[in-house]
């Protein structure tokens, strides 16, 4: 089948209406960048799900980071996209840094070792937020800390796992007829993890890459499998059926399953990872961070994340809530649904 045939098939599709959700922030970005929404039949709707790590992190986690940041003995180490995420108040890491707290932005968790070696009197706390994609790197970080007996690095974790939350979304009645399964997450998990959910709810999954043709192929595969509980791999060059067992083994050495809390959804059974009790001395207080309080009560991030509202249907969207003045996490990260819709003038869905 040629790319042109796939394009024709998607543009002229006239079967049952379909809501297809992507659950990976990079897919959200790639869909907009390639102009895919306008290439689909009016009967195919794309929804952005809980695929942006900072978007799904509850406010109590950010509050805890801010509390730790205030202690002059601590330095928070983080990826850039967490810096401007508000907690239960409009304060964020950027604003407390302005008040004198130490916050270092890094591109790799491994950069923490250099910081810690240069400043042995400071306790460096890595803000370990993410999905299956980044968890192996956090496991490597822990592995290095343990093996080298490093005394001044801890983690504050908010690690989530994808299959459990997809199951939760479907159980809660989200109107979804198919999932674009996350490419990078699947590199670690493999494709089999989606099979029980696909069968339970009779919905198709398409594991997709990040290039335009790869995404179109996956969407086409999902559309053609309407109502069927199947998992198809459209990214076989990178995603192996069984994923990466070595990475999973390293994760399981240090982390255990946890009922993680998701912004706007509450605790979802078994949907996260947390350091095992044996390594709790490396944990800066990640357990029990499950309260979620909106900085702005009118924010609809929760409904957007669950596919129950389009970003532009939120009363704050583009008026009160903008990338420079975000009211909710989905407008902060470039991978957030609201940011992506606003930056690309999207009115579809």
């Amino acid at each position: 089948m040629t790319l042109d045939q796939v394009k024709d098939g998607l543009k002229n599709y006239d079967g049952p209406e379909m809501n297809i959700m992507e659950v990976c922030g990079s897919h959200t970005g790639a869909i907009a960048k390639n102009g895919i929404p306008g290439m689909l039949s009016k009967k195919i709707h794309l929804l952005s799900g809980p695929g942006c790590p900072v978007c799904v992190t509850p406010s109590s986690y950010v509050d805890k980071l801010l509390e730790l940041a205030k202690d002059p003995k601590n330095c928070i180490v983080t990826f850039g996209d967490l810096i401007r995420v508000p907690g239960s108040t409009p304060k964020n890491l950027s604003s407390v840094r302005g008040e004198g707290a130490r916050v270092e932005m890094v591109y790799s968790p491994m950069d923490t070792f250099d910081l810690a070696a240069k400043d042995p009197d400071t306790n460096f706390i890595f803000a370990a937020v993410g999905f299956e994609t980044t968890t192996p790197v956090y496991a490597l970080l822990v592995d290095e800390i343990v093996r080298n007996n490093i005394k001044n690095i801890q983690l504050l974790t908010a690690i989530k796992t994808m299959p459990e939350v997809i199951d939760y979304l479907m159980e809660s009645g989200a109107p979804i007829d198919g999932f674009i399964a996350p490419g990078h997450v699947s590199v670690v998990t493999g494709v089999h993890v989606y099979e029980p959910i696909a069968e339970k709810f009779s919905i198709p999954f398409g594991v997709a890459g990040f290039k335009g043709p790869e995404l179109l192929a996956a969407i086409y595969g999902i559309v053609m499998s309407y109502g069927k509980g199947v998992v198809k791999n459209f990214y076989p060059s990178v995603v192996k059926p069984d994923g990466n067992p070595e990475a999973r083994a390293l994760i399981d050495k240090y982390f255990e399953k946890y009922d993680a809390s998701w912004r706007g959804m509450g605790a979802v059974k078994g949907s996260g990872k947390i350091l095992k009790p044996k390594y709790s001395y490396l944990d800066a207080g990640s357990r029990g961070l499950d309260k979620d309080h909106k900085a702005n009560p009118a924010c609809c991030c929760d409904k957007v994340l669950m596919g129950k509202m389009r970003p532009y249907e939120c009363p704050l969207y583009s008026r009160v809530c903008t990338p420079m003045n975000p009211q909710g996490a989905c407008m902060v990260s470039t991978e957030g649904s609201c940011f992506s819709y606003l930056a690309n003038h999207r009115t579809d869905g």
Partner: protein, 330 residues
């Protein structure tokens, strides 16, 4: 002479004099500057263009350029974008205590070389020394002469015009980011004075409506702003936008979009549609214009929209850069 800047270099006394004589005047020497008066008196013109810009890039030296070359190019290019021929520059230096004198000498030498290349004279200057960690900041102001029959402006774009960029997008941004992240690439900054391109275009009879240098915020930001100023819809085609494979790969790795990456030696020209190929040919045969390309057109009237036709065949409506771009790239 010391090897680091000390507070005394900003005292106005003998140490300041030493700095001016040994570094600034030696490199920038010309009759006006050498007179060491309180202000420069120079020949004038009927219509002049004036502009000013401050430069705070870190690191001060990077692959393909430095803050000295940048601070001349930035101001010279701003003058050129109104169809002015750049003539005079002034420069104000803010030096932090501890700055390496050797670095300052290299930067000043680079400024002098770039000013010579751009055909401008540096006719006045100032130096201040402040506490800090050895960095330097430069402000340049510039004056250019505009001929009576030149009318280049953001509001002049007309439906049917062609949109041309003078070369590859994102090189400067990628070069600076590589330095900061200690990523070893051979991507060089594109910082360059665009005098040759603009002079050749203006002297060719091509009907040039708008010129704009594509700096912070990148091509998409510049075009979106121009579309709003001229109240037009611009359409551009993704596969016509020149980006080297190296920058494209680098951007892909870091999740950046070359359309929003900064440049320091590129312009967008909006010219009458029927002159498009002639204008492209002129730019391609001018210094720093060899990779120029026609990337789109002014498609209609609106409140200001920028539409990109993607490689895949979809359409994407672009906005100005949202959120924070890379700080201190110029």
């Amino acid at each position: 002479m010391e090897d680091k800047i000390i507070m005394a270099h900003g005292s106005g006394g003998s140490a300041t004099g030493e700095l001016i004589d040994n570094i600034f005047d030696r490199e920038f020497t010309n009759e006006t500057l050498d007179a060491m008066e309180d202000s420069a008196v120079v020949e004038g013109s009927g219509r002049i263009a004036m502009t000013t810009d401050s430069f705070v890039v870190t690191p001060a030296e990077f692959k393909g350029g430095d803050i000295g070359r940048l601070c001349v190019c930035g101001t010279v290019n701003d003058l050129l974008m109104r169809g002015a021929i750049p003539k005079y520059l002034t420069c104000g230096f803010i030096l932090e205590e501890g700055l390496s004198i050797a670095l300052l000498k290299r930067v000043v030498h680079s400024m002098a070389q770039t000013a010579k290349e751009a055909g401008v004279k540096i006719v006045a200057g100032d130096t201040k020394v402040v506490n800090g960690s050895g960095e330097l900041y430069i402000n340049t102001a510039g004056v250019g002469f505009v001929s009576d029959d030149t009318d280049i402006s953001a509001v002049n774009a007309e439906v049917g015009d062609a949109i041309i960029v003078s070369g590859n997008m994102g090189d400067h941004h990628a070069a600076i980011l590589s330095e900061r992240m200690c990523i070893d690439t051979d991507i060089c900054s594109d910082n360059a004075p665009l005098v040759d391109i603009v002079k050749n275009l203006l002297g060719s009879g091509v009907e040039v409506h708008t010129l704009r240098d594509i700096t912070r915020g990148g091509l998409a930001t510049v075009l979106k702003e121009l579309s709003e100023q001229s109240k037009k819809t611009f359409t551009i085609e993704e596969n016509r936008i020149p980006v080297t494979k190296k920058v494209s790969d680098f951007a892909g790795l870091l999740g950046l979009d070359p359309l929003y990456m900064g440049n320091e030696g590129k312009l967008v020209a909006i010219v009458k549609g029927s002159d498009a190929n002639k204008a492209l040919d002129i730019i391609k045969n001018s210094k720093y214009g060899e990779n120029a390309a026609i990337i789109g057109k002014v498609a209609g009237n609106s409140t200001g929209r920028l539409i990109e036709v993607t490689d895949l065949g979809g359409e994407r409506e672009l906005d100005v850069l949202q959120g924070e771009g890379l700080p201190r790239i110029c």
